[in-house]
Amino acid sequence: MNRHWQKIQAIAQLKLHMIIHNLSISFIPAFSMLMVYLLRLIIHDQSTAADAASAMGGAYLLSFGLLFNTVMGGIMMCSGPLAEEKEKHTLRVLMTASVSGLDFFIGSALPVLVIIEVVNVLMIPIAGVAWSVIPWGSFLLISTICALISMLLGYMTGILSKNQTQAGIVSMPLLFIFTMLPFFRVLNHTLEMLANLTYSGILTRLVDQTLDQGYHWDFQDIAVLLIWLVIGVGLFLYAYRRNGLDSD
């Protein structure tokens, strides 16, 4: 167990290093916080009504930030480094150093999950929402499940891609669907209905309801999250069994 934990730690440190030094990936969490801050300044300037408007602005900004960070960050921070390792043939070297596939994925996922969660928490004050109104248990649980689903989708695209460019292209439709659909849910009822069937839609529902009447778990939210988690695991396992980690 200790040996495995030591290997996981080594992989996690390596991945953290790779994410920090890859600007196209590390910019996502930083950019999502910056965007939310800038949008908040714009909305604050235009908002004249006090509480209602600021609550609406807060929900919009927080949803935007969480979607950007959890979906885009989760997918790209997993697919990019994995594709980079395959492109540079460093993954084969790691795998021959008695690192199992499980060690590799746990070690790779840990820093990404921590980054996403820390940024999601920091996003709350940046969006102008008080920490006291957040139902922390539900918030952390839902954002963690959503981050895990995004990461599974990211690993799937990384496994199916040969290089970083291909990973970017393959992940584009996923980013578009899971980021844009909940974002444009306010435009019409059909989009809202569809958004509520995506895992990222549940994240925005959490924010909307939290800042409206308070969030309460319902059967649909649990079912949607579980179904997407199962789909994510299934797609990941399918890609892993089909291509393996180190396919040429």
Binding site: R3, Q6, K7, Q9, A10, Q13, L14, H17, M18, H21, K88, H89, T90, R92, V93, L94, T96, A97, S98, V99
Partner: protein, 326 residues
């Protein structure tokens, strides 16, 4: 490590036969060189690691841990040498003295530099450092001295000796014999008929009798860029005259010779070469088949993949019959 045994291994892919008739035993602690092309090297590596299975033949490799440095491998450019070493130290179950390894591999000056700032010489020694840290049963090195400077080669060889001290078996592959001579104790050359051992026994002067001077030494000199490459007659498949330039075919590679085909014929006749056509001089040891596609045309098919086909003049058929008695 228990010996790895290849017994008449053949590997075919959709593109044809890549390796054929490979019979080889890799004992523990040996340092073997294989003169093979890049494609053959990769095929051998995939067989060795179990990534692909032989099409036919037997391969016994038990639980040998194999680690490699292939020409396509890259490191983590952002990591420093120290971070790279510590990464693999955490992954390794084998305790080592990192300071001693740093010293033996002459990496102390670049220890805190990122890999992307190292020279090719230093990067190759960092690869050796990884192997020293991970301590596999067998290290597979593809073209290890490629693009190294003279000093780099010297330091690399010191590092390789340090790696071997810890009992690691080493296999090096390269397309050139001169590279393998520096890094191997035993060398095998792959030809379409299989692996042939290259005689590396050092010449021991015979002090008991009169000095013997070799009279049968002959090499064909070919020019390539600013290098002159020498081939023994037995390495050459055939020589072709293209626009009055003699082109020497060795495996799948071609080299230009400064001699004319007639001059080469005169020199190579006694080594079993035969002028089968006005434009072709063939090594008779390499011929596999003679085919007559029509009454007056004959074709010689050589061993190898793809098997070269050479025309045989009708007038020279009788001469060939006399030479090889068929």
């Amino acid at each position: 490590m228990t010996p790895i045994i290849f017994e008449k291994v053949l590997k075919q892919t959709s593109q044809g036969t890549l390796l054929k008739n490979i019979t080889l035993t890799i004992p523990a602690g040996s340092q073997i060189g294989l003169k093979v092309t890049h494609q053959e090297s990769r095929c051998f590596f995939n067989l060795l690691t179990g990534k692909t299975r032989p099409t036919s033949g037997q391969l016994v490799r038990n639980d040998t841990t194999i680690m490699a440095n292939l020409t396509t491998d890259a490191g983590y450019p952002q990591l420093t040498v120290s971070q790279y070493a510590h990464l693999f130290l955490k992954l390794s179950a084998h305790p080592i003295d990192l300071a001693a390894a740093q010293e033996a591999l002459a990496l102390h000056e670049v220890w805190h530099l990122p890999l992307k700032r190292l020279s090719q010489d230093q990067q190759q020694r960092v690869v050796l450092l990884r192997l020293v840290v991970l301590h596999p049963d067998l290290a597979f090195l593809e073209n290890p001295l490629n693009e190294l400077s003279d000093d780099g080669i010297q330091l690399y060889l010191q590092g390789l000796a340090y790696l071997r001290q810890s009992g690691v078996t080493v296999i090096c592959t390269a397309p050139y014999l001169e590279e393998l001579l520096l890094v191997s104790d035993t060398i095998y050359r792959y030809s379409p008929t299989g692996l042939e051992s290259v005689d590396l026994k050092p010449d021991t002067p015979d002090t008991t009798g009169p000095a013997i001077h070799p009279t049968q030494v002959f090499k064909i000199a070919c020019k390539q860029d600013d290098k002159t490459i020498f081939f023994s007659p037995d390495e050459i498949d055939f020589i072709e005259s293209i626009n009055s330039i003699s082109t020497v075919h060795v495996g799948n590679d071609t080299f230009s010779s400064t001699l004319t085909l007639t001059e080469l014929e005169a020199k190579l006749q006694r080594f079993g070469f035969f002028r089968c056509h006005r434009s072709y001089l063939v090594n008779l040891q390499r011929i596999a088949e003679l085919i007559s596609y029509s009454r007056n045309s004959y074709t010689l098919i050589l061993k190898g993949h793809p098997a070269p086909k050479l025309p045989l003049s009708r007038t020279r058929l009788e001469e060939l019959r006399t030479l090889i008695s068929f």
